[in-house]
């Protein structure tokens, strides 16, 4: 291994895995050469640097897999999971640094971050399965625990460690080594493959969990899968985005795409395109003005989001008269006088309820349809 200063990926030191690693490393090298050549021909100064080649590769891969997973999360109102897992990934980084300084090993902190984040992901699922709901409180507890653990572990090793921590908190373009790029290619391949194979199940669960269960989809299993994939994406994106801002890549492009798209596939595609714009423009600006990459990318993403909201508003105004003829809520009161419409028979007028143990979904259905 002729690896430069940064700690080598653990896998690369295992003989069995060294062949695929070498192959991927060679591919990353090819990409780097290609970008360098393009930069030279077009006279783009920032493409002279190998770390920028890596940054653009990693950025482009992040901008595919973050909105890909984010689309499923956001439409289940689980946007917070990305944030919680990012903070536990920080604890994983701290564990890696701690082990390295204690035992003098050279494990990449990103590998320990993956392990810890995946464990946290499964823990979140376990909590939600046993308490029967994803709730803000348990998520907030996982988030704070992760961050606190990271902070404590890092403060235990005073010395040089505290200095290097900013790169994990805020992300850093210049530290994306070839090893890190290879790690990201592997993460990307895993995420893309799993989502491709399980797309239908994930979509069904996202759209309607109960109907998915009735249709025989093993919902808890897919929830665990989804959260684990989120952990992988978060760790992958952390290199550039930093712990604090990584969740934005899961959410902001997806929210922007939701303003524009009608269909789910369309929304997925749009979110990836918008994320690519944010990442490529963000990295370029970050290099040019010497600003932090994560923050710059997120600001560009938010600008894209605002543009999408405005475009979406304009779009819906143009197609406003297409809205279905029967907006039922508006019409109901007028129709209510019909003697033989027993529509609101139930509920409202029955004073004593046999028992209130009934499932909550249909407690007040009838009242709702009459009241507005």
């Amino acid at each position: 291994m002729t690896a430069p200063a940064s700690p080598a990926v653990a896998a690369a030191s295992v003989p069995l895995l060294s062949a695929p690693y070498d192959l991927l490393s060679w591919l990353v090298g090819l990409w780097s050469d290609a970008l360098g050549w393009v930069g030279e021909k077009l006279g783009i100064a920032m493409l002279e640097y190998v770390f920028m080649h890596h940054a653009f590769l990693v950025g482009a891969l992040i901008a595919v897999m973050a909105p890909l997973i984010g689309t499923f999360l956001v439409h289940r109102q689980l946007a917070l999971i990305g944030d919680a897992l990012a903070h536990t990934a920080f604890a994983g980084v701290a564990v890696g640094l701690f082990i390295n300084s204690l035992l003098g090993t050279g494990i990449s902190p990103y590998v320990t971050a993956i392990v810890v984040a995946v464990i946290a992901a499964l823990a979140i699922e376990l909590i939600s399965e046993t308490t029967d709901a994803y709730n803000d409180v348990s998520m907030a507890i996982v988030l704070s625990t992760g961050f606190a653990l990271g902070a404590v572990l890092i403060s235990l090793n005073t010395g040089g460690l505290a200095v290097g921590i900013n790169q994990y908190l805020f992300g850093n373009l210049s530290t994306v080594s070839r090893e890190n790029a290879v790690l990201l290619v592997v993460l990307f391949a895993v995420v893309a493959l799993v989502v491709t194979v399980t797309y239908k199940q994930l979509l069904y669960v996202t759209f309607d969990e109960t109907a998915a269960r009735v249709a025989g989809v093993n919902v808890p299993w897919y929830n665990r899968l989804m959260t684990t994939l989120t952990a992988l994406v978060v760790v992958g994106a952390m290199q550039i985005m930093g712990v604090i801002l990584v969740a934005a890549m899961l959410v902001v492009p997806v929210a922007a795409a939701a303003q524009l798209a009608r269909g789910f596939r369309e929304a997925l595609l749009a979110s990836v395109v918008l994320a690519q714009i944010a990442v490529l423009v963000g990295i370029t600006l970050s290099f040019r003005y010497n600003t932090t990459a994560g923050g710059t990318i997120v600001l560009v993403a938010v600008a894209v989001y605002v543009a999408a909201v405005l475009a979406g508003k304009a779009q819906s105004r143009r197609s406003g008269d297409e809205i279905p003829e029967r907006a039922d809520d508006a019409e109901t009161p007028e129709h209510a006088d019909g003697a033989e419409t027993p529509e609101h028979a139930d509920g409202a007028e029955i004073p004593e309820r046999a028992d209130d143990a009934e499932t909550p979904e249909h407690a007040d259905g009838a009242e709702q349809s009459t009241s507005d």
Binding site: K200, Q201, R326, R353
Partner: protein, 259 residues
């Protein structure tokens, strides 16, 4: 209409069979000692006051809850085994508008009905044809590319029926499908169900609208924790089961029953 019941060797077996089914969230049973068999081709309406456990019974039959005692079988398998679920279609109360702003088109939703058939494989052209056919059957073909949240409540419920039909379901289970749907669309919705039953679909419906159930279903089950009545709609209308199940608040009026 091109629905053809899939012939299987279990053709005569009941699609739904519950025996001495009991379930409670706490110590108090919500559903107690319920026996229910639904044969192929039946149109069964379950009615009962709020909190009578009718939706809970449905969830038990679908395997969404584990019964405290008794057994629930769906298509000849224990409900909790979730076997052969491509044969079951499910339409719940419409919850799309309040919590879901998700971008998804009508045709994408209907195509989900094919997912249990496709498994991990690709969605084929034949799957898409099934979905289109189902949209035609429920009469909303022209809305295929609309965003589901842009539809009215009635149109959305038709979409979910189409999803079940696209999956070639033999049994359609509906849980208060007309809540939040305007009166005019409700009538059209029940007419659609009538047509599907005539084509051989088996329907199990939980509905708060007693009048509609008496008018359309071939069999009424009146539930208030226990089964108060199970049989012919006309006999149900003439019986005192309603009064017993609902307490004294039921007024009988000319041409209909109002609670």
């Amino acid at each position: 209409m091109s629905r053809e019941p899939t012939p299987t060797d279990t053709d005569d077996a009941p699609l739904v069979e519950a025996e001495a089914l009991t379930f409670g969230y706490a110590a108090v049973p919500v559903v107690e000692d319920v026996d229910l068999r639904v044969e192929r081709g039946e149109y069964v309406g379950i009615v009962g006051p709020n909190g009578s456990g009718k939706s809970t019974l449905l969830r038990l039959l679908l395997g969404l809850h584990e019964a405290d005692s008794g057994s629930a079988e769906l298509l000849g398998h224990p409900a909790r085994a979730f076997a052969e679920r491509e044969r079951v279609g499910y339409v719940a109360q419409d919850v799309t508008e309040d919590e879901k702003r998700m971008p998804i088109t009508v045709s994408e939703v209907v195509l989900m009905g094919r997912f249990p058939h496709a498994g991990f494989g690709r969605v084929t052209a034949a799957d898409r044809e099934h979905a289109r056919e189902a949209l035609r059957t429920v009469g909303i073909e022209h809305l295929a590319d609309r965003k589901i949240t842009a539809l009215s409540g009635g149109q959305r419920q038709r979409t979910y029926i189409a999803r079940a039909l696209a999956g070639e379901a033999e049994l359609l289970v509906l849980d208060e499908p007309t809540v939040g749907v305007d009166a005019e669309s409700v009538d059209a919705f029940f007419d659609l169900l009538d047509g599907l039953v005539a084509d051989g679909l088996t329907v199990l419906l939980v509905e708060h609208d007693i009048g509609a159930v008496i008018e359309h279903a071939s069999r009424v089950v009146c539930l208030n924790r226990e089964v108060y009545f199970d049989g012919d709609p006309t006999a149900f209308a003439e019986s005192d089961a309603l009064d017993r199940a609902y307490g004294t608040n039921v007024r009988r009026e000319e041409g209909g029953i109002v609670t």
